[in-house]
Amino acid sequence: MAEGGRQHRILVVEDEDNIALALNYLMMREGYQHDRVANGAEALPRIRETHPDLVLLDVMLPEVSGYEICQSVRLDPALADVKILMMTARGSTIERQKGLALGADGFISKPFELKELRTEVRRLLTGEG
């Protein structure tokens, strides 16, 4: 949960409402402070503005793809400590390679098991990755 007296802040970038609902519920139960963006174009301004600890980033987004957002975050030195966990419904080996090459800290394919997601989020937030 909160470490060093501070709540971790997580931004969910996901256009599918049902999944976003589930993710928000999970983040709340895990005790993270969370926020959600449904559109790719809004994601980067929101990240700059709120500077979250972790972005749960879907690949397929309207307007701007997850890959682009990921690359833009990594190209901005001010956002160097923002962790990115990418999520995709396809998730082939090649896509995983592409995501990691573009600077994602983790890559998880849908449908994922909650345990897997929870472990991955904790790993990234405690800085073991």
């Binding site: 682009e68 082939s92 080996t93 390679q97 573009l102």
Partner: protein, 685 residues
């Protein structure tokens, strides 16, 4: 009677008659004058006048005859001889017009006629030569075409014997043994579907009808999709495509699809039922909740696993021939350089890649052009590295990072004008891959992973993918009994062996066997059997001196059992021919217990055939025989099994027409004649 004599003799006789007539007239006139005068003392004067006038007449006639003979009769003879020579053979020199200067225009006219004849003949010869060259060039082009088409092409006679096959067909049918002319098609393919299709086409009676079939090879169980079409001349064309891998892949995909439906339908149905029975707005009974969670978990696991398997299969399914990484990189570099961009090629891993080279080169070229246009870049680096089971093409430059959005936008553009359906995106999809920018400040790149087929070894030697054919086989009439068959209608396998020594009874063994096939009176250049044999014992140095085969050379060679079986298959249905056949056959027949194959083919021995043609008192060594027949064995080929085999085959081909000249046309007649020479060597038949 008279006109059967020669021209000059006839003219001589005419002049002789003239002289005789003049002399007779003169004598008659003198006798008459003497009687009228009635004075006996004038007799001497009359006789003297008669003698003188007779001599003058004789002299004149002789002189005129001589001139006539020299200037008319003789030149006419020479002229007619010269004309005849020009008419019947290829003599084409100038005719000597001075010879016949007293014959008026005859000589110039004859010269003109001869010149025109020679011109016509030259023009005809030129036309024939031109046409022959054109035809052989056309033939070579067709051969090249057919040898390189990726489908197997076969021509068979109506009784299913091979008359033509290309290299691809040879590869498909190969296995137990490479196919050969005049072999039965059913030695290589299961006959059921082929016989059925052939019968169907014959009954249809439509010359344009074709029949599609699916057949399997006798060895290796390959599945071939084929199409059969009857030929007007009898027989049929069969085109074959190897669909073994396609079918296997199709069935794997079908199985995966069926499994996918099954494993998704069940949890989906269960979930639907569970939710349908739940009253809305009420809390879940704990049992139902566990059931729901179970079903969701099953569904999620199934989708994840099936997607992974489909993903793996998709990369495998890319139906592309492997290309060399270095060739691909060269192609990309050339494309970029053609766009006035400089390319520095770095590391290229020695891999074979499964990709469509044209599309990948096009994609890389398009990206290079787009980068050059958007960024003003002129210099690139290019590398191809190995990464796990994949290869990565890296196109690098110095400068700013490339935004993914821009790259994705470029991927949506057609690669080339006029090909709107081929975009970067479609190329990536066809290769089941992705592309992305990568880099650190200053040094940027786009990375394109490709599936590597395998590590590339050294380039293999080019395989002779010749087409092999003899169209006369299509119309060949077959006789059942070998002994009644005409010599040129039989198929022969001419062979030779090299051995550890000359005494098979004392443990000498074969170290090399070579053989060639003669079909329809021609040696088939592409059908050669040539292999070393491990004799299972040391080769004495004295034998190595003769044939140059050392223990080291045969160490890795197959043993006699394996080679004899392969040779037996090669010689199946053929007459065996060898120079001193009993020697070679003795080695093979002593091993029948080990090899399990019997060489019961009919046999001809060129030593005996030489004895039939040239008589028993000549020398019948291979050197002497080939020398007599004007066949040269290259020095380096002498005493190699294949060199001696080819020489024996060529000698046999030259002996065949000579046997025919002796009235020995059938195999039986030749064998009967050979038996009479059997004292020289034991006849193996």
């Amino acid at each position: 009677m008279l006109h059967k004599l020669s021209l000059r003799l006839r003219i001589f006789l005419i002049f002789a008659g003239l002289a005789l007539g003049a002399l007779a007239g003169l004598a008659g006139g003198l006798v008459f004058g003497y009687r009228q005068l009635g004075t006996p003392e004038t007799l001497n004067a009359f006789v003297q006048v008669g003698m003188l006038a007779g001599l003058v007449v004789l002299g004149l006639v002789t002189w005129v005859w001589y001139l006539f003979d020299l200037n008319v009769a003789k030149p006419i003879d020479i002229l007619s001889g010269a004309l005849r020579a020009r008419a019947h053979s290829d003599v084409s020199g100038e005719m000597d017009a001075a010879l016949a200067r007293y014959l008026g225009d005859l000589a110039p006219a004859a010269t003109a006629a001869a010149a025109s004849l020679s011109e016509t003949r030259n023009a005809l010869a030129e036309a024939v030569a031109r046409e022959t060259t054109r035809l052989s060039a056309e033939k070579a082009r067709l051969e090249a075409l057919l040898s390189d088409v990726p489908v197997g092409v076969l021509l068979c006679s109506a009784d299913h014997q091979l008359a033509f096959y290309n290299g691809t067909a040879a590869d498909m049918l190969g296995g137990a043994g490479a196919p050969g002319l005049d072999r039965r098609l059913f030695d290589y393919l299961h006959d059921g579907p082929l016989r059925h299709a052939h019968q169907r086409l014959q009954e249809a009676g439509d010359p344009d009808a074709a029949s599609d079939i699916l057949c399997t090879t006798r060895s290796g169980a390959r599945v071939l999709a084929g199409r059969m079409r009857l030929l007007e001349a009898g027989g049929y064309v069969l085109t074959l495509r190897d669909v073994t891998a396609d079918l296997a892949q199709l069935s794997r995909r079908e199985a995966l699809l069926a499994e996918t439906f099954d494993r998704i339908r069940r949890p989906a149905a269960n979930l639907g039922t569970l939710f349908a029975v739940l009253p809305e707005g009420e809390a879940l009974p704990p049992q139902m909740e566990r059931a729901l969670r179970d079903e969701v978990e099953r569904l999620g696991a199934a989708v994840t696993e099936l997607t992974r398997r489909h993903d793996e299969g998709r990369a495998e399914a890319v139906p592309l021939a492997p290309i060399r990484a270095s060739d691909l990189v060269d192609g990309i570099a050339a494309r970029l350089e053609a766009q006035d961009l400089s390319v520095h090629v770095g590391e290229v891993a020695p891999l074979l890649l499964r990709c469509n080279g044209f599309e990948i080169v096009g994609l890389a070229g398009r990206l290079g052009a787009a980068l050059a246009e958007a960024r003003g870049l002129r210099a690139f680096t290019l590398a191809l590295t190995e990464r796990g089971a994949d290869a990565r093409i890296t196109l690098g430059w110095q400068g700013e990072a490339l935004p993914v959005g821009q790259l994705e936008h470029w991927l949506d553009q057609p690669l080339e004008d006029g090909l709107p359906d081929t975009t970067g995106r479609s190329v990536l999809a066809a290769h089941a891959t992705e592309i992305w920018p990568e880099g650190r400040p200053g040094q940027q790149a786009v990375v394109l992973p490709l599936r590597a087929a395998r590590r590339a070894g050294p380039r293999p030697a080019p395989v002779a993918r010749a087409v092999v054919y003899d169209f006369d086989l299509l119309s060949k009439a077959r006789n059942a009994a070998v002994s009644d068959t005409r010599l040129e209608d039989l198929t022969y396998v001419v062979f030779d062996t090299e051995t550890t020594g000359l005494l098979p009874a004392q443990g000498d063994e074969i170290v090399q066997i070579a053989a060639v096939r003669i079909v329809n009176g021609k040696r088939v250049a592409a059908e050669v059997f040539d292999t070393l044999v491990n004799p299972g014992r040391p080769i004495p140095p004295a034998s190595t001196t003769v044939h140059g085969i050392t223990d080291a050379m045969v160490a890795g060679a197959p043993g006699i059992a394996e080679v004899a079986r392969a040779f037996h298959a090669f010689a199946d249905g053929a007459v065996l021919v060898a120079h001193n056949a009993p020697f070679d056959l003795e080695f093979l027949r002593r091993k029948e217990g080990v090899t399990g194959v019997r060489f019961d083919n009919p046999v001809l021995d060129t030593v005996l055939l030489s004895a039939v043609i040239f008589g028993q008192h000549e020398v019948h060594s291979l050197d002497a025989l080939t020398h007599r027949l004007d066949i040269t064995i290259p020095e380096e080929a002498r005493h190699t099994a294949i060199g001696d085999t080819v020489a024996t085959a060529d000698a046999f081909l030259k002996l065949m027409p000579m046997l025919r000249g002796r009235g020995l046309t059938s195999f039986g007649e030749v064998v009967a004649e050979v038996r009479r020479h059997g004292r020289l060597l034991r006849d193996m038949n």
